[in-house]
């Protein structure tokens, strides 16, 4: 399953909206198979921030572990945000 973040907007910065986005997407996630890879695609996102990212990505990292993959992005705000989230939450993100 590929989650295209641009479907939630191109300026992803608020904690509240990150939480709402995950909540809205949960029914779609429920349809994923037991071994299915969950992949996040940042293509088309202009701005990404730690608040939005923490609310949306961190619960998914915890739930899906190694099955949760992030597609590499050259967007500076994506790169900086993911680095901070790894430090703050003490986890490693699978970025490919």
């Amino acid at each position: 399953m590929i989650i295209q973040l641009k479907k939630f907007g191109v300026t992803l910065t608020s904690r509240q909206l990150g939480k709402e986005a995950l909540s809205a997407f949960k029914p779609s996630l429920a349809g994923a198979g037991e071994a299915e890879i969950i992949e996040v695609d940042f293509d088309g996102v202009n701005t990404f921030s730690p608040s939005w990212g923490d609310e949306f990505l961190t619960p998914l990292v915890k739930k899906y572990g190694d099955r949760f993959i992030l597609k590499w992005s050259d967007n500076p705000s994506v790169i900086s945000t993911l680095k901070l989230l790894e430090e703050v939450n003490k986890y490693r993100l699978n970025i490919i």
Binding site: T13, S14, Q16, S51, P76, S80, T81, V88
Partner: protein, 244 residues
Amino acid sequence: MQNKELITINQTSQILGVSIDTLRRWDKSGKLPAIRLKISGHRYYDRNLLAELMPRLDIYKLVLKWASGKTAVEPLTDFYCPNSSIFQARLSRFETELIKSGVLQDKFSLLTSVTGEIGNNAYDHNLGNWPDIPGVFFIYNINNRQVAIADRGQGVLTTLKKVRPDLINDQDALKMAFTEIISGRAPESRGNGLKFVRRIVIDNKYDLLFKSGQAELRINKKSNGLSIVKAKIPINGCLALIKF
């Protein structure tokens, strides 16, 4: 004239944080022309003209006067975000204007992200607890490479005390907010956005001035990392000025 939204000289003085004498001088010099109604002869100001002028003034002074004022006055609607949805919309516009201007090239996303973190913090930490006016004053001038955000909320110390009750002053609270990773997040969902702000500001050689309570934090070439001093003008909420 019929399409102009007129504001009295007193309201204009409050919005701009300048005296009525200054407004009279600006009228004379043409910096901010007043409109005189035939009947009364009193000076009025065109709201749109005011909105055009404000970003060209000293935006730090504007937000500081607003944030430190004893009386709460609503900023001009063009720069006032009473709730997070309006802030989000204005942030998107800021992002679009940054992209169009090309001044930061592909790094526009970092400044938008930092501005978003600072602005959204105000709503996350003051929801239901605004002492007077809710929301933030958000103003920028891309040509002058400056963005300012201020709120009249509870400030960093009050909100951080919920997770660190041992904190006793504003300076320590600012230091913690900008440098320490806070892992115990209950009882409130406090993030680590200001650590992100610090990192981006340092890496990209922006200048940051951040005020809250009696404390003032600076990150710039002269500060050698991060400097926190007692503020000459205290504010209850938070204020940030970024020069990029």
